[in-house]
Amino acid sequence: MSNESFPLKLEGGDVPMVRFDRVTKQYGDLTVLDSLDLDVKANEMVAIIGPSGSGKTTVLRMLMGLELIDEGVIYVDGQPMTHMEKNGRLVRAGQKYLRRMRSSIGMVFQQFNLFPHMTALQNCMEAPVQVLGLSRKEARERSLELLKLVGLDDKMDQYPARLSGGQQQRVAIARALAMRPKIMLFDEVTSALDPEIVGEVTQVIRKLHDEHSLTMLMVTHQMGFARDISDRVCFFYEGKIAEQGSPEQLFDNPRNERTAMFLSAVLEAD
């Protein structure tokens, strides 16, 4: 890849917390992300909406470093994440570098993905102890505080199998927060939940947004919630951002025909 046109790091007045710079991701012949540009400011809450298969999950997975991108560069807090500097050039990030860059990002998955052989508390403590090297005591205090934040301190000794979906998802949020990330990624975190318990999870996300300085990217099908909470909404279509804007603008006056069609289909279904 010719990296000449990608800066080694982002400098200047307002460096974005996240920047996708012409990022392309392909699976075989399928181009899932097509030269995507996306900036997210520090402490911004960006909602990502769009039809199934449009590349929403892929955006988060690339940012989390779960898969390699094919072209372009992702920057986190001004530093390249998918690449690193070597002799004045950008080369593909090594595993160690990638692990360090990942530490500023937390991710919450649609299917919770808690570790089934650990209690809620152990789930939260595991990475702080094993990755950050915290003492068990410190990790425990930190985890308890976060379980309290998500309203589950009374369930700390329960194993995931004994928790409801909503409770599991809240533990997953606490687990991600225990690493003290600057950026939180939410991938349809309420889609696997029964409608009546969706609220207990969205409430936690709202609290995080209101009371903590976190940059958040949230893929969601809940248009009401997206509108309510986000600073900006991005509508994905076929691996590109077809339209983005403030929630009011995008939901009330979509400029792109695709956006309008998608919104009317989704709102009708509700």
Partner: protein, 221 residues
């Protein structure tokens, strides 16, 4: 001679044989577990030369006869200057052979843990080694214990072959008793019963117990 008299007379010999069989089984198991872990992980390695060592090992030891492998270890290796006692050659052959089958169980167990568990651990910044040790392997272990129970019974049965290089195990003792008494049914019948008791009275409940203990410790199931 009634069967009771037969038993009374030969019980000590059978017992000695059974002890040797248990020793062969225990040492063979220990070796098989070690080999299975090493070869199983090698076969899963993303580093191709390492992966090939695993593949070739498993192919050779599963694709050829245990008896021939044992003869190689006992009769052929000395030609290359490696001389082993018959007892050592016996459990070595059994362990190396059954370890190749165990390697596939290790691989199967690890691969049965969903990808999402890897991703969750990766997203938390875990080093691949930590991820395996703390997240993937404990879950894999629980998945692979039931097939390991079967494998260990196969291993027990396979130890009967060590009689062919004159290790004085249960099989060897039964043959000797048969030769000196010509009471084949009693001699080999008793051997059958003792093998069965070891399998169903020791190995199966032992593995069940281990499974329960682990399941409780990991609190799944």
């Amino acid at each position: 001679m009634s069967y009771l008299e037969f038993l009374y007379k030969y019980a000590p010999s059978f017992l000695n044989g059974a002890v040797v069989t248990l020793e062969q089984t225990a040492l063979g198991t220990l070796l098989a577990v070690i080999v299975a872990l090493i070869m199983g992980f090698m076969k899963m390695s993303s580093f191709i030369p390492v992966r090939w060592v695993g593949i070739v090992y498993i192919e050779i030891f599963r694709g050829t006869s245990l008896l021939v492998q044992m003869y190689w270890i006992f009769f052929v290796l000395p030609l290359f200057g490696i001389t082993l006692g018959k007892f050592e050659a016996g459990f070595l052959a059994v362990g190396l052979n059954l370890g190749a089958y165990g390697a596939e169980l290790v691989r199967g167990g690890v691969q049965s843990v969903p990808r999402s568990q890897y991703e969750a651990a990766t997203a938390l910044g875990m080093h691949p080694f930590t991820r395996m040790r703390r997240v993937i392997f404990p879950q894999a272990l629980l998945n692979m214990l039931p097939p390991w129970g079967n494998l260990l019974i196969e291993l027990l049965k396979a130890t009967a072959l060590v009689a062919l290089i004159s290790v004085a195990d249960l099989m060897f003792v039964s043959k000797q008793i048969n030769m000196s008494t010509f009471l084949s049914a009693q001699a080999f019948g008793t051997a059958l019963i003792i093998y069965y008791i070891i399998a169903r009275g020791i190995i199966t409940p032992g593995m069940r117990g281990l499974e329960c203990k682990l399941a409780k410790k990991l609190s799944i199931g």
